[in-house]
């Protein structure tokens, strides 16, 4: 395993020494651009196994993803494109490629446009870019707000958006809005499916209507952005339990997210808060209620041209208030993180990151990185993790 991980890193870096450019070609007299990315990670933890990998022994390199897209501008205002994405993260993804996005966008004016198809959902600072490792200083975004095992839950919807940027004068900055509605569907290789299946059930589907909006304000103070997002959902969870088909419908399911970002020269400071509430039941009887609250404060600084350092504190708290299908309880995971990112060239990056976690959530009730299936011996209260990740894009 050790040699495989190192081999992948070196091969990636070697390949990227060659000048790597986005590929352009003509199709029906239109320029088509092709872009792609890939990353390979390695995770070692001190005690508990994490993110469905066997991380607590030597460590695990089952942490790979890649994607590629093609897009073209059809007319002055119309563009189309699509992206495929595939990943393998321990028991998640399992190398099953997905259509990440496939959409048509028509922009009437800078302040009003529409897009339809499978669309990345705008929520908070990084929801729509959470898979794009090369855009972020950190190898793992704060898991209290962007849990990688639950990326499907908020990532995209099949439907449509309206969006635009409204300048409100030099003294007041710019407002950007997005409103959307569509259908969301969890992958059978996501965290929810993994939890249901590892608890002895058989996951069938989890999805439904998703609608909401995002409003962000680029303030007149240079570098300061603030915003808020709201998502409502009407979902159905379908799974087999002991041969019985169980369908739970959400009577209430929403997410609120508030965020701010300040960047000045080489310093970027982010802060976000997300609260997710769901009430799933059948025939008016609540079976699952979850109240998930996460926030983080992160800072990153570019020390020299190709080196960044960063740190964040991520605070996750979960309340499972009723004893329906599972026992009630509360859980937490407080994660202190330090990172160094090195970019050997414009197209590649290497990250070394330390996590110091207190708590492991409520592994029986809700997926949050720690699963009983990977920790049959039970959990220790603290987990330290070393994450090494290398990636490239073109």
């Amino acid at each position: 395993m050790y040699h495989r991980v190192l081999g992948l890193v070196f091969v990636s870096l070697y390949l990227c020494q060659a000048p790597m450019q986005a590929q352009d070609f003509k199709l029906f007299d239109r320029d088509v651009q092709i872009h792609g990315f890939a990353s390979q990670g390695f995770v070692h933890t001190s005690d508990n196994n994490w993110l469905t990998m066997n991380t607590s022994g030597f460590g695990s390199g089952e942490f790979t993803d890649f994607g590629a897209n093609a897009s073209t501008q059809i007319t002055d205002k119309l563009r189309i494109g699509a992206q495929l994405y595939d990943r393998n993260l321990g028991g998640l993804g399992r190398w099953h490629p997905t259509l990440d996005w496939a959409l048509a966008t028509y922009k009437f004016t800078p302040w009003f446009g529409i897009r339809g198809g499978k669309v990345k959902t705008v929520m908070g600072l990084y929801n729509d870019t959470q898979d794009l490792d090369f855009l972020h200083t950190f190898a793992l975004l704060p898991q209290s707000v962007y849990p990688t095992d639950l990326r499907d839950v908020t990532l995209a919807h099949t439907g449509g958006d309206i969006f635009g940027d409204i300048p409100v004068g030099k003294k007041f900055g710019t407002l950007s809005y997005t409103a959307y509605a569509g259908h969301r569907s969890d992958s059978p290789y996501s965290g929810f499916a993994y939890l249901v299946n590892s608890d002895g059930g058989t996951f069938n589907s989890f999805g439904g209507l998703q609608y909401g909006g995002d409003l962000r304000w680029a303030t007149p103070l240079k570098g300061l952005l603030v915003g808020a997002s709201r998502m409502n959902e009407d979902l159905t969870l379908d799974f087999l339990n002991g041969g019985t088909d169980i369908r739970l419908n959400s009577s209430s399911d929403w997410t609120n997210q508030y965020y701010g970002q300040y960047s000045r020269k080489k310093l970027v400071v982010d802060a976000e808060y997300r609260r997710y509430w769901t009430d799933l039941g059948t025939q008016g009887v609540s079976m699952i209620q979850e109240d998930v609250r996460g926030w983080y404060v992160a800072g990153s600084y570019q020390v020299v041209k190709r080196v960044q350092v960063g740190s964040y504190f991520s605070h996750y708290w979960l309340n499972y208030p009723i004893s329906g299908l599972l026992p009630s309880g509360t859980g937490h995971d407080y994660d202190k993180v330090i990172t160094v990112r090195f970019d050997p060239n414009r197209f590649t990056n290497i990250k070394v990151e330390g996590h110091f976690m207190d708590g492991y959530g409520l592994p029986d009730q809700y997926p949050n990185g720690f699963y009983l299936a990977n920790n049959p011996q039970g959990f220790k209260p603290n987990t330290d993790a070393l994450v090494i990740k290398a990636g490239f894009h073109f």
Binding site: H35, R115, K222
Partner: protein
């Protein structure tokens, strides 16, 4: 005596402004198919951030320089971003399906060559770059909405500076009356001798009539090689 005064004025400003200010001068160029004489700083930013893709009804495609003083000055003065921030911005557009990567070329000469041959292309080059075959746009930053330039009088190049091949860009604040005439012009930056010539010319410019008084910040390039 006049020549001596000019010499000391040039020398003094060269020392005061330093190399970075000289490096910071850029001019915006467009393919002759682009029907515009001027562009506001806001329009320029919107085009480069892919918020809009046309100028006066012409489809426009921005061209980005890979590196260099003109590139750095353009990002700093008109986009308010570093190269890393701009790359990240374009990558976010590209990998979420919201935009494309603009054409990237390596030098001023390549920008000029590409813009000259590509319909709708718009780019930026250093103030001293040769811009044969393309149109140079004056850059403004308006409040109260865009005012279309109707009559443009080209500023006279001061002979002493032309002989010494000294160029640059001057920044002016133009106060435009509701009827479109120029009330007065303030020199904001640049070589004062070039500025004097630019102010004199811009005072004769005529804009389209508007509803009220308007102020605009514009840049006027002086290229000794042109």
């Amino acid at each position: 005596m006049k020549h001596l005064r000019t010499f000391f004025a040039i020398a003094g400003w060269t020392i005061l402004l330093g190399a970075s200010a000289v490096a910071g001068d850029v001019k915006v160029i467009a393919n002759p198919s682009v029907k515009a004489e001027s562009i506001s700083a806001r329009e320029l930013k919107s085009l480069y951030l892919e918020e809009k893709s046309s100028l006066n009804g012409t489809h426009v495609e921005p061209v980005v320089e890979k590196r260099g003083p003109a590139h750095e000055a353009f990002l700093r003065d008109y986009l308010g971003q570093t190269d890393d921030e701009l790359q990240k911005y374009y990558q976010t557009l590209v990998f979420t399906g919201r935009g494309s990567m603009p054409k990237v070329v390596g030098s001023d000469a390549e920008v000029v060559a590409y813009v000259a041959k590509t319909r709708g292309a718009i780019g930026y080059v250093g103030a001293g770059a040769s811009v044969e075959g393309v149109r140079t746009l004056s850059i403004g930053d308006s409040n109260g909405g865009e005012r279309q330039l109707v009559t443009r009088i080209e500023p006279k190049y001061p002979e002493d500076l032309l002989k010494r091949s000294i160029g640059g860009t001057v920044r002016l604040k133009v106060f435009i009356a509701a009827n479109g005439s120029v009330d007065h012009v303030d020199l904001l930056g640049g070589n004062p001798i070039l500025g004097e010539s630019a102010v004199s010319a811009v005072q004769k410019w005529k804009y389209a009539a508007g509803n009220s008084k308007t102020t605009m910040e514009i840049s006027v390039p002086f290229d000794p090689n042109r």
